[in-house]
């Protein structure tokens, strides 16, 4: 049981380049999330999805796009990379509803924009 898998683990981008961060979960969770973590800070929510075909903005969505065509996959797209997007990105998934959501994080993608 792999849980939440993120690729790549590390990436260096030049300003203005684009890339997609991949996230896949095999727990049949219907909720998925993308967070960013800046040095010495907590996590901030970028986008989330409550099910296939449904996405919504979090606290810091500017400069990012997402899609959710299947329950398992939730890719995050950076269209025009900027130095302010240098961060560690975490994907997470959970069950919906009340109670313990079974919140599970991926191992993260460290992105540097130069």
């Amino acid at each position: 049981n792999a849980g939440v898998t993120q690729t790549p683990k590390f990436r260096i981008l030049k300003i203005g380049q684009s890339m997609t961060l991949q996230c896949t979960q095999d727990m049949n969770h219907n909720y998925m999330y993308w967070y960013r973590q800046d040095p010495g800070m907590g996590l901030k929510l970028i986008y989330y999805s409550v099910g296939a075909g449904i996405t919504d903005k979090g606290e810091v969505p500017n400069g990012y796009n997402v899609s959710r065509s299947t329950t398992e996959d939730f890719p995050l797209r950076l269209e025009l990379a900027a130095p302010s997007q240098t961060s560690v990105y975490f994907c997470a998934s959970s069950y919906s509803g009340e109670g313990d959501y079974g919140y599970t994080f991926g191992s993260g993608t460290r992105l540097t924009v130069v």
Partner: protein
């Protein structure tokens, strides 16, 4: 969003010591979780605790929702407890959106 404050920001303990980490939040919440981020960056869910007290081995947590705070207790600390501890809260009107505090960085020395 909800403001989440954690204290202390940094903590250094001798192995075997006990500690209490605090999380204050600015509004009523329907969900609160504690996470541990190990030195390699992996985030692990420790407790789901919107109210009351839970224990899991040497760790326990208490949330007093009416007074808007939660406490995480670590007893007989071990070097493997090192890392950053995050509190995250959720309000019912924000869907499954968690707001994270800036964390308490714990270092346990042998």
């Amino acid at each position: 969003g909800i403001q989440v404050e954690q204290s202390p920001p940094d903590l250094i303990l001798q192995e075997g010591a006990n500690s209490t980490l605090r999380c204050n939040f600015s509004d009523s919440v329907n969900n609160l979780q504690w996470f541990h981020q190990n030195p390699w960056g992996q985030l692990i869910n420790l407790f789901y605790i919107p109210s009351g007290t839970k224990q899991n081995g040497r760790l326990s947590a208490t949330t007093v929702a009416t007074e808007r705070y939660s406490l995480l207790y670590i007893s007989s600390s071990q070097t493997t407890d090192s890392g950053v501890y995050f509190c995250a809260v959720e309000r019912s009107d924000t869907g499954n959106q968690f707001y994270f505090g800036t964390g308490t960085s714990l270092t346990v020395i042998p």
